[in-house]
């Protein structure tokens, strides 16, 4: 049977067909749909982990127990999980283990566009790179076979266009893969120096065998056509090259990109007149080809920044551009924004009013940096708001600058890596103030459950981790839970925090406006009372607009959250239902 599948969905299908027993992930675009789809197969135990490190460590445990396992994450998630990954490379596996990284060239929904292919080389583990959905499924099978045969975790590297691209996939049956027996093996699994020193030797021997495999494996293949031009490529770039050149040029298509097949590359280079490497982001393959003493054209004509597409390749290699329509009319940009009824809006409004530094984090609330709110000062990585605010505050204090520092972090991000920052504040007697924007869901990635929501990935009831009690247990002196739709309450808590030297946490607890059922309510502007001061527009609510001098609220979008009502100094806004 054939089905159109997203790349992520096809990885999930591969997990099913190739007998994976355990899968874990933390959501992150473009990887989220992998485990969401795995969860549809009841034959696989799957779970959301609080972060990527925990997901990989759990997959390691499952592998050592004897099960085929998988952990999935976005590119920056692998930074979080790098610690276990590098040592897992030494211990090797029992049941096969696939670590999926979904990179985001072009940063559609990310804070950087790091090229995670270097992780395979750095950690010395094999890497496969599928080009389309069919390969996404098939390569899970190759990865598991390689993992078990060579006793190593395998990195499966996708990019946004592979993860979220859709193509036709031929479905198969699930293989019945038995759990392997577990045998205690201290020299293999306990990485104390004496054992690790021996395991590093094993890793180097394994690499030799994997280099040989890379020369022979069928997913590294040459398509000989005209020999004037030869192109080495992998992943999505292969499809772009085929789009531009079809069967006009010779292609070395690499499905296994670590270790790279040096002999195959040499053979290919000798067989063509002019050699190119076409790859997105870093000159990863190009550097290797050059290290073999082969002349090759790559990043001098192709961009290192952003995504490739067929047009860029066409222009760079063929010097051609497609004719296209152009119009002179300039249209305003349409950046994403906080939804009408979003619980973050009121908190940002208050923080902006107080003119305090606010270190931000990763989630919908990063949109609080956009005009007109412009309420956050930084966004670095998951968890960096809480820990960063501590450093910000301490440095200021040490040099006699008196200013309270705040941070904003979502519930899921707090569980991911905000907790350790909070422990640091308490331990080091800081008093920067984390505001936990607890909207009861992992919103930005599309509403995934987390340790605070009371539900698991597989839909079971679970204990709700109570952020207020957790903060108290850590030793925070003042814990204030506020309603983010009540501006006075938020403001009082912020004022209290500004004026105390105690450690303090504010939890702004209000559900994401998109959690069904959609909140039903409506505010309306009384045109007789409206003085057209424009304060309500400073909320950046998509339901409020000014047209031809008249301020109004779109009843279809309004949720009746009343934040604008509280902002209006003339009582011109009323709640009508």
């Amino acid at each position: 049977m054939k089905k159109i599948m997203m790349g992520d969905e096809a990885v999930a299908r591969g997990a099913y067909e190739y007998g994976i027993t355990f899968a874990a992930a933390y959501p992150g675009t473009p990887s989220t749909e992998i485990i969401e789809n795995i969860a549809k197969y009841k034959e696989i135990y799957s779970e959301w982990a609080p972060n990527e490190k925990v997901a990989v460590e759990a997959a390691i445990g499952a592998s050592i127990a004897g099960a085929r396992s998988l952990a999935a994450m976005k590119h920056v998630g692998l930074n979080v999980a790098a610690d276990p990954l590098f040592t897992f490379a030494y211990t090797g596996v029992n049941g096969g283990c696939v670590i999926v990284t979904a990179d985001d060239p072009g940063m559609h929904s990310s804070q950087n566009e790091q090229d995670n292919r270097y992780y395979a080389k750095f950690a010395k583990i094999p890497m496969l790179e599928p080009s389309d959905s069919q390969e996404c499924k098939d390569f899970v099978g190759y990865a598991l076979d390689i993992s078990e045969k060579y006793d190593t975790p395998v990195l499966l590297r996708l990019t946004t266009r592979v993860s979220h691209g859709k193509g036709v996939v031929e479905l198969g049956e699930r293989q019945n893969v038995e759990m392997k027996p577990y045998k205690k093996d201290i020299p293999k699994y306990v990485m104390v120096p004496a054992n690790a020193q021996k395991r590093h030797v094993v890793v180097e021997e394994r690499l030799k065998a994997l280099r040989q495999l890379s020369e022979e494996i069928s997913i590294n293949r040459i398509e000989w056509n005209d020999r004037e031009i030869g192109i080495i490529t992998s992943g999505i770039s292969y499809l772009y090259v085929k789009e531009v050149f079809g069967d006009e040029v010779s292609i070395l298509k690499l499905g296994m990109t670590y270790p790279l097949p040096s002999e195959l590359i040499k053979k290919f280079a000798e067989g063509v007149k002019k050699l190119y490497v076409v790859e997105e982001l870093e000159p990863y393959i190009e550097e290797h080809v050059k290290s073999l003493g082969i002349k090759v054209i790559g990043k001098e004509i192709l961009p290192i920044v952003g995504e490739l597409n067929p047009g860029i390749i066409r222009k760079a290699i063929k010097g051609e551009e497609l004719e296209h329509i152009s119009v002179d009319t300039k249209v305003p940009g349409r950046p994403p924004m906080l939804c009408a009824g979003c619980p973050h809006r009121g908190v940002f409004y208050v923080l902006k009013k107080k003119r305090v530094p606010v270190l931000g984090d990763i989630g919908c609330y990063t949109l609080g940096a956009a005009p007109p709110l412009e309420a956050i000062d930084t966004c670095v990585c998951m968890g960096a708001s809480v820990s960063g605010s501590h450093g910000f505050q301490k440095a200021n204090e040490h040099k006699g600058r008196k200013q309270k520092t705040f941070s904003v972090i979502g519930d899921s991000t707090f569980f991911h890596s905000g907790i350790t920052g909070l422990i640091n504040i308490v331990y080091n007697k800081g008093n920067a103030v984390p505001i936990i924007l607890d909207n009861r869901i992992t919103a930005m990635t599309g509403h995934q459950h987390n340790p605070g929501t009371g539900k698991t990935l597989m839909g079971e009831e679970a204990p709700e981790i109570d952020i207020a009690k957790l903060s108290e247990a850590i030793g925070v002196k003042r814990v204030r839970v506020v309603d983010p739709f009540n501006l006075k309450e938020v403001e009082n808590a912020v004022d209290e925090a500004v004026n105390t030297d105690d450690t303090m946490v504010i939890i702004a607890k209000g559900p994401c406006a998109l959690i069904p059922p959609k909140p039903q309510g409506e505010c309306r502007i009384d045109q007789d009372k409206c003085k057209k001061c424009g304060l309500c527009l400073r909320l950046g609510c998509p339901a409020i607009s000014k047209k031809d001098g008249i301020f109004s609220i779109d009843p279809d979008q309004c949720t009746g959250c009343t934040v604008c009502m509280q902002v209006c100094p003339f009582d011109a806004i009323e709640k009508v239902r």
Binding site: K2, K3, I4, T29, P30, T32, E33, H108, S109, D132, T160, R161, H164, G165, K166, G167, V168, I236, L239, Y240, K242, E243, N309, P310, G311, R314, E321, L322, E323, H324, I325, S326, V327, T329, K330, V331, P332, G333, R334, P335, P336, M337, L338, C339, C364, L367, A370, P371, P372, M444, T445, G446, L537, G540, P542, I544, S545, K546, K547
Partner: protein, 191 residues
């Protein structure tokens, strides 16, 4: 089997471009076409500009459409049609929903929503303007505008031979099947 066709659907997060493209892709697959699609999830969906790309034919490589390569742009919103117009082939066609969804900068009066966009577009390219929101609203739910536009597209591409109503049934919740089937039929009648 014909050469590869490229359809670019553009709109605003929440307008249902992904559902429309899923229905299109499934129908095409069932009728023996190779199909590739690309869409963007995540941050841009919070009211931002979104696009879904569908390519079909005997053998499709790239899931991504390059500038100057789209046969049809289906714009769910007027301004988005202009934003993506350079993706269209010289002899391509734009199917555009005449609705205006102002971005935040327009809502807060920092910028103006550009005027006469349809006239502007139709000066340079064949344009089919459809008041899909109004048609959907007359059927009882404005949200079905995406399937109205799909109907227009199917008619334009001459793909009426495919059992689209069956595909729609597979892709929408039971209680919305009738609405969407009617929306699709209305779309077919537009041109």
């Amino acid at each position: 089997m014909q050469e590869v066709k490229s359809i670019l659907m553009v709109g605003v997060g929440g307008q249902g471009t992904i559902l429309a493209s899923n229905v299109l892709a499934e129908g095409l697959l069932k009728n023996g076409y190779d199909v590739k699609m690309s869409e963007v999830h995540g941050m841009s969906q919070r009211g931002g500009s979104v696009n879904t790309q569908i390519r079909f034919g005997e053998k499709v490589y790239s899931p991504v459409i390059e500038v100057g390569a789209a046969d049809v742009i289906v714009a769910f919103e007027k301004m988005e049609a202009v934003r993506w117009l350079n993706y269209l082939k010289k002899d391509g066609v734009v199917i555009v929903n005449t609705v205006e969804i102002p971005p935040l900068s327009v809502l807060i009066s920092k910028e103006e929503y550009p005027k006469n966009l349809i006239e502007e577009i139709s000066k340079s390219v064949k344009t089919i303007a459809v008041d899909a929101d109004k048609i959907a609203e007359s059927l009882g739910n404005i949200k079905a505008q995406n399937i109205v536009l799909l109907g227009v597209l199917v008619k334009y591409l001459g793909l009426q031979g495919i059992d689209w109503e069956e595909v729609i049934k597979n892709n929408v919740p039971q209680k919305f099947v009738e609405l969407n089937t009617n929306a699709f039929r209305k779309g077919l009648e537009v041109i």
